[in-house]
Symmetry: C2
Subunit: 716 residues, 2 copies
């Protein structure tokens, strides 16, 4: 399903009319048939007809209806096979009972792709799933593609084609051509976001509802958007990513191409519930994994669809910011104070005006009022358009300002203020983010901005989101390439048995990947335990070594800080007497007692959706209670691992704070990187692996794995 044809190719099938098309061509068709066409707006087929006619599709439009000669004055054909070809896209709005024969007819007629609106198939019950599979098989046998089923079609503004049942199209007087591609797993949401974009002047290259993704799926349209010259920003509403590695590769391509990919993923709290089920899952639930993958690939996970679209509207119609410092102009002191609070709290930087800017602002403002945000209401002297114009210009031209922000509130001279804003936006050297409220009061300004194509948002939250995307993109303009394999790694994946590994087995794996571990001795008698303790040097630790003991510390199988030989002997005896029945011979690990240092957890897991992921956090309560963990797709380079550490809330404890020495970050980063390669090499065999604790010492003194566990699948 991940293969696709990259160019239109006509294939021999049922005569010369057959067209094989890809996702990019689906949303740019030259001929469209509507099967189940109707005049009745209350029917699906009728809504499609009315929507397509209202917006005057630029290509060839064919209605199929077995019982009518014409629909709304246009000829109708009894079947797709009797209609003139070739047909790029056939919209299928028929009852489930007619679906199989309709798809077969389309295949015979050489249709390029069927958009299947019919619902209650794969998403509904077993019968529906079986029928859906059959449709896919029919399509694949003929080279025809399917979108859906259970989708709501697509909108191709540049083709003046609104091939969707969404009633929102009846309210729009045009289809908003532009630079935002929207790919949605929810059809209703596509309609909602279309009309939101319409009201705010967000133009679209295309919008598509992918439904059940039985054939063409989200990534097919994502690829089309990445390659599409019209598209500058890509919005995704995702419930499930079918092909995560393709998704990641496409997101990276988009980042390299300078196209922001904004994503809303549903199911965050379901992931949360799954998270709570087990310890490791709680650190690496799939939403968090997806978040890590998105960040690693330069995509931005957002909290809600409307905010995503408004942010896309800002980004698509502004130049790329070179720095993230903000210059903010407001006309209400109160509104400005709240905006300053919210921007600063969100981590944005309000620049300090440089001297030239201060001088320019000095023409109209007392020194105590030359703040950022600057409040136009605080000017001195006669009010006139020049005050607003000069101020806006001065702030826009401050060399430290990377993004200009203006907050409209009801004020004098609003039209003249907009003149000044239009001027700097058209100048086009820096992004200009304007907040204009939703009220009637702003209607004239809104109309002028819509006519000019200038972006605006109605909510400060959307400015915060836009600024955050700017910051993220500046921090990682292009996603890191796959890191180099560090030295001293085995050339191939290690051969290792499945199931829960013992601590020595886990440490052997870690050692093979160049991770420092304690040098332990495995013994089976009290005498050897004492001898080993003598060699290692007191104090020592004794631990049971058994495949059947997963949580050693729960059952008296771990004895720390044994200061003398008597204590070693007692600990050995305690383990021996608690040893589980069975044929596994007694085995006790004698280990040096590592003292001092700070405990970290370094782990990796293989997410069934998103592949190998590395994770790191401070040990104990930081992970267990505060969930202060960072994840990143494996393999991770040491600099990237160090960046993970810096994102921890507990980072100050690692960096050295209030008299504590800085810890050996380099050693920790190296450990994370090496473990991530182990996870990478183990591939899907890895369930999870954890160094707990990794004890890290002051900078230059290294880090050492003191205990570890791993769980592997039984076969590769």
């Amino acid at each position: 399903m991940t293969t696709r044809t990259t160019a239109r190719e006509r294939v021999a099938f049922s005569g010369a009319r057959s067209v094989r098309i890809d996702a990019a061509q689906v949303v740019r068709p030259t001929s469209v048939a509507i099967i189940g066409a109707s005049e009745d707006f209350s029917k699906f087929g009728g809504r499609f007809v009315h929507n397509v006619i209202k917006h005057g599709f630029a290509g060839r439009l064919i209605f199929i209806n077995p019982t009518r000669d014409s629909i709304l004055g246009r000829p109708a054909y009894p079947s797709i096979e009797q209609a003139p070809g070739p047909i790029d896209v056939a919209l299928v709005a028929v009852p489930a009972s007619l679906l199989r024969e309709t798809i077969e007819a389309c295949a015979r007629a050489g249709v390029g792709a069927c958009i299947v609106v019919t619902a209650q198939l794969g998403e509904f019950d077993a019968k529906g799933r079986a029928l859906q599979d059959e449709l896919v098989a029919i399509a694949q046998a003929s080279g025809m593609r399917l979108v859906g089923p259970n989708c709501m079609g697509f909108i191709a503004p540049s083709h003046r084609l609104g091939l969707t049942s969404s009633p929102t199209l009846q309210y729009a007087d045009h289809l908003c051509p532009g630079a935002v591609a929207l790919i949605s797993q929810s059809g209703a949401l596509m309609g909602t976001l279309f009309v939101l974009g319409y009201d705010h002047g967000v133009g679209f290259s295309f919008l598509v509802s992918v439904g059940n993704q039985a054939d063409l799926e989200l990534c097919d349209f994502l690829e089309a958007a990445v390659e599409d010259a019209e598209t500058k920003v890509i919005c995704l509403y995702v419930e499930q990513v079918s092909d995560p590695s393709r998704f990641a590769a496409l997101a990276r391509r988009a980042a390299v191409a300078g196209k922001p990919v904004l994503v809303v993923k549903a199911g965050r709290t379901e992931a949360g519930r799954t998270m709570a089920r087990s310890h490791t899952a709680s650190l690496a639930g799939s939403y968090e994994a997806f978040d890590a993958v998105c960040r690693a690939c330069g995509a931005t996970l957002m909290d809600e669809p409307e905010g995503m679209l408004m942010t896309a509207g800002l980004l698509a119609r502004n130049p790329i910011a070179r720095t993230d410092g903000l210059g903010v102009v407001v006309s209400s002191g109160g509104g400005g104070a709240v905006l300053a609070d919210r921007l600063t709290q969100a981590g944005a930087t309000l620049v300090a005006w440089d001297e030239a800017t201060s001088t320019r602002l000095g023409k109209h403002f007392l020194p105590q009022h030359r703040n950022n945000p600057i409040d136009l209401g605080a000017h001195v002297g006669a009010l006139g358009p020049h005050v607003f114009h000069d101020t806006i210009r001065a702030v826009y031209e401050d060399p430290q300002v990377g993004v200009f922000v203006y907050l409209f509130t009801p004020q004098p001279l609003m039209p003249e203020t907009l003149d000044a804003l239009l001027e700097i936006w058209r100048d086009g050297r820096k992004p200009v983010f304007v907040v204009l409220d939703t009220s009637r009061f702003a209607e004239d300004l809104r109309r002028r901005m819509l006519d000019a194509g200038m972006p605006f948002v109605t909510d400060i939250d959307d400015v915060l989101r836009g600024v955050e995307v700017v910051r993220q993109r500046l921090a990682m303009a292009t996603p890191e390439p796959a890191p180099d394999r560090p030295p001293r790694l085995p050339p191939v994946a290690p051969g290792v048995r499945g199931g829960f590994l013992t601590e020595p087995e886990t440490k052997a794996l870690l050692s093979a990947y160049g991770i420092a571990t304690t040098q332990d001795r495995i013994v089976a008698t009290r005498q050897k335990a004492i001898a080993a303790a003598r060699e290692i040097g007191l104090p020592v630790v004794l631990k049971a070594v058994s495949r059947r003991i997963v949580h050693k510390s729960d059952g008296g199988f771990v004895h720390l800080g044994l200061e003398n030989e008597r204590a070693v002997a007692d600990a050995f005896d305690a383990i021996a007497s608690a040893w589980p029945d069975g044929d596994e011979p007694l085995a006790v690990s004698v280990q040096p007692m590592v003292q001092g240092g700070t405990e970290l957890i370094v782990g990796a897991r293989h997410d069934p959706q998103f592949g190998p992921l590395a994770l790191v956090g401070l040990g104990g309560v930081f992970v267990e209670v505060l969930r202060d963990v960072q994840m990143w797709p494996a393999p991770v380079s040491p600099p990237n691992a160090a960046a993970m550490l810096r994102r921890l809330k507990s980072w100050p404890l690692l960096a050295g704070t209030r008299g504590r020495p800085p810890l050996d970050i380099e050693a920790v980063a190296d450990t994370v990187a090496r473990l991530s390669w182990l996870a990478h090499d183990l591939g899907p065999r890895l369930i999870d692996i954890e160094i707990n604790p990794l004890i890290v010492r002051a900078a230059g003194f290294g880090a050492i794995a003191v205990d570890g566990r791993a769980n592997l699948g039984t076969s590769a």
Copy 2:
């Protein structure tokens, strides 16, 4: 300035026309004069005239202009003294140069209150401050009240009076009478929120812009709102609270009266900067103090003004919720998934349908689709209004549902859906929160809801806010009364010197308030140190005791874990040799070494704005790095102190988690309560006091103050 007259009283001043009025009467005047009245909309005086005329003030309206006989066809008088009285409110829109004589004339004419729009006074420079003070003195001498200066007037919808210069009033065709009072320190924001309310059907009892609060201030209008029968919800935009204890008392009264008080306070991040300056300030910056005061008084601090008003609109037109469980109905699976994620992440509870509800839903939905939220799009069988009606009704009537939420997305049968929603809203047993997007698509529904007076919001965030206020109010329906004084407290504030107290001085204070501290000995010689150690029992701690050593641990003045007499002697010598020059005699504290347990910080400070506050958090990194601290106004009752502990992010560490025993929460809560009474008793003399650490042991084994410091002002 905090005194006020509680009833209208006519006083003898310049004849019989003089009226003395309070804030409640200011916003409900029967006669209004506009001084500086003009026909020119570009002038302040002109905007007032046009706004008042447009909305047809129900009372007597008098224009004052020295150069005109009439304004817009109505008679104008040359001066206030020549105009017919009595005049309740005079709007003063004259240049600063004419201000003094205008206010004097008003005072002579017996005006009730002047609304002074003129700006660049107290907020601007020293000259302006002086003039402002003069105006207040003139007014006070005559019993006249002032609003402003630097304000934008007020709106009294029930009086059809829009006495503000805000241009937004020209766009409104009525003044939205209703149950929300808005008191704003920003005039522009009053205009913004008025028009937002207008567009969303939020009705107002009054809106007032208080400006510089030279005379009548925020609390005067807050009191008016609390007492006003029309007002059900109170919104405040605050930059500075002039009289915090009056504010707190009024907020409590509002809570008792069942009127939610919603507050936005600007300057959060300025507070953040102040916070960072010193250790204790970083725990108790004034925004955090205000937040604690608001929560203690049952008021809700919100993040932004628009959200505050939309939440107020929901609360003012819905009954009070009895439980906070949500029943959610949506028409888009995608939108529902995002909404469920966001609600759950915000801590809201989606109820599990009870059996009767499930049975009712079973009429239209398969078992796997009977979720909460329930997606109307997932129904089986023929679609008709009854599907939506039955579903909405079933969810509304589920006994566990405390708040009903509906998310509109473009869908079939929207008008019929609204019929069902109107029906349950009119039923009035539970709050009904409807989200309707801002698009043209929703225009007809919006109009119908506006006409019906049914509340709606356009943003899911506003539902989250509304649900949060419901939860908070249910958690504390009436604010806790002032707690009882615990036993064993001194009857009066302790007599104690000012400045930094030594550890023994601090511990003496703590002991006097019944807080357990270590039993320490103060010694001046090595021999006595050893003797003390012997008595106390090894290991011991030695610390220097000096008024000049504020940070003992920085200079080698603290020696922990001294295991034998030799170590005690060495520690004593080390302190003696590091002892600072001066005439303070050597003093060393010998203390028991408290081992085990968990370290907390318990503190109190006197906020210059908000009075005494108690704070508590886990010691070390939890406070210093993670800022995991809870604050509450002092005095605090033990149950309330326990509630502070439960709100800590690190609470699981206190409650017992993953095999740790639960700690002695009762002992900690008792300590917090006692320290809060000490702070209360010390009053403004307290700068700050801190027990660091308080070592708390397992439940039943108590807590003990091991070290402490305090800083007091030199005079009471």
